[in-house]
């Protein structure tokens, strides 16, 4: 499967109530790549992701999918093209993994439609891709944090969208599970050609795993481009207000930020 759909924003302003958090965002998400949105707390990363996935209606401007405004598309049509994993989804009590992942097929179902083998194939491949097939009969409540996150990703995969947005998918996970989830993102990107957009807190992981970075500051795009282009000492200093040194990550040869505080300098 190759990615064909392109997501972009035009003069996008959005926020909660009357207060605007985003101010005139103009971005085009590179198709078939992994993009991470980074920035300090309350800079509008999550707001941008939520607006791009239609959870928020923009005050001004548009989010365009292949040139069409997503806020004007039929919801189920959009849900077949663009998937989202929110920060804290809710697992209904006592639901099994298989059942939960099956719910990702909702956009393809009408009121009286039956389950088809297309559904089963999609669910199976989502379970396999996330390595959760053996959990199929387990209760979601019983799973560990890493397993649960993989199950939620499986649900979003069963949706079979070309574009997948994830809001801080690694929060609350220990470092091993963080890597596991990010490796999974790379596999999805390579095997399925899925365009992936993440909000990430960890700068070094973002630089290592992304093809494209968007650095945000106070509701605007400060800079965007390849990790090598964005992750520079002046940019990190401006975006986070942090003295730092950028070196090359010995593992991945991507930029790596070392924070500099007031103490403990040799």
């Amino acid at each position: 499967m190759t990615a064909r759909h392109t997501l972009s924003t035009r003069q996008l302003s959005a926020g909660y109530g009357d207060t605007s958090i985003l101010n005139g965002i103009d971005i085009t998400i590179p198709t078939g790549q992994i993009t991470s949105i980074i920035g300090a707390n309350a800079c509008g990363k999550s707001t941008l992701l939520r607006t791009m996935s239609r959870l928020l209606t923009p005050h001004q401007g548009q989010v365009l999918l292949d040139g069409r405004s997503i806020h004007k598309m039929a919801t189920k049509d959009l849900a077949q093209l663009l998937g989202l994993l929110p920060q804290s989804p809710i697992a209904p009590e006592g639901i099994t993994v298989g059942d939960l992942v099956s719910r990702g097929r909702h956009p393809y179902h009408k009121l009286f439609s039956q389950w088809s083998s297309t559904d089963d194939v999609a669910i199976t491949s989502a379970l396999k891709a996330t390595n959760t097939a053996e959990l199929i009969d387990r209760d979601v409540d019983e799973l560990s944090g890493g397993q649960r996150q993989r199950v939620w990703i499986a649900m979003a995969l069963a949706q079979e969208t070309d574009i997948l947005l994830l809001d801080e998918p690694t929060t609350y996970l220990d470092v091993a599970h963080q890597i596991e989830i990010l490796d999974l993102m790379v596999e999805l990107n390579q095997d399925r050609g899925t365009t992936i957009i993440l909000v990430l807190h960890d700068l070094n992981l973002a630089a290592r795993y992304s093809d494209h970075l968007i650095a945000m500051k106070s509701g605007r795009v400060f800079d965007q481009g390849s990790p090598q282009h964005v992750m520079t000492e002046p940019t990190v200093h401006s975006v986070f207000g942090l003295n730092n040194k950028v070196i090359s990550d010995p593992i991945s040869k991507t930029p790596m930020v070392l924070p500099i505080g007031r103490y403990k300098q040799a």
Partner: protein
Amino acid sequence: MTTAINPIEQRLKQARKQRAWRWYRVVGFLLILVIALLLLTLSVGQSITPLSEVVAVILGEQVPGASFVVGQLRLPRVLVALLVGTSFGLAGAAFQIMLRNPLASPDIIGVSSGASAAAVFAIIMLNMSGGSVAVFSIFAGLMVTLTVFGLSFKHGSAGTRLILVGIGMAAMLESVIAYLLSQAQSWDLQEAMRWLTGSVNSAQLTQVPLLCISVAVFGSLLLSRSKDLEVLRTGDETAQALGVRVNQTRLVVMLSAVGLIAVGVATTGPIAFVAFLSGPIAVRLISNTGSALLPAGLIGACLVMGGDYIGQFLLPNRYPVGVVTGALGAPYLIYLMIRTNRKGGSL
């Protein structure tokens, strides 16, 4: 393609079949229970009428004695109980599933209070009766619900805020009811309290058509949204990502549920805890095998019919059905609160 079906796909199909099978079994069992209660109520009361005579009366034949007891006394009562119970059960479960909280039933968040206040006002102050009371209380129930919905809408609607605003609204409406009752000289206080507890004592066949229409229209509207409601259980954001129009679904569900509640309340008064109890019981029985709506409606019907039967014949005093369901519901409510809080989970 491959000859052997993938084992995972097979397991998925199998699990789905098992779930569907359990769901149908539960619904079938509940249907049988409803019919059994219906027949029991029709044939066994102060006197016992043979089933053959019951059937004859229902078919419109004149049977001496039985025509009056069954046709005039028992039939209206049991039909009203059946329909009102279904309404409350459906509406209660719809609210609980939508707000992901078993405690968010119309009893608690002001919908029932709004409809009751309007009905009491119409009866006491405007001397209305029958259908006009129902219309009045539907209107008021809708107004209250829309107000609660509107007041809780800030930076998007949040379930918790909606519940709290509803509790505040309910408190205010309860005091309206208390005031209206204190003004009621003409209306016997005892009767007023009986009505407020919920009772099918004054059931008449003329009330049945309106209830039927309400259950048919609002009930099918709710059931048509059952898939969206199921997805809403995974959270508003997930549901939206899966293509559910969350606010539109909420509005449709809320309006239909309020319609069901209001027509029911205008007929029998707010029968305590039926709307609240049916959902959790249904969820227990079907345990994630499908939508809890239909089973909850059937359970509501069983609760009201069974409760009325117990209140009439099995207790030393004659109690209205609301007292029986209240006595059943209160301990369960407390148990549910403890369980929910301990798990931090939801319906």
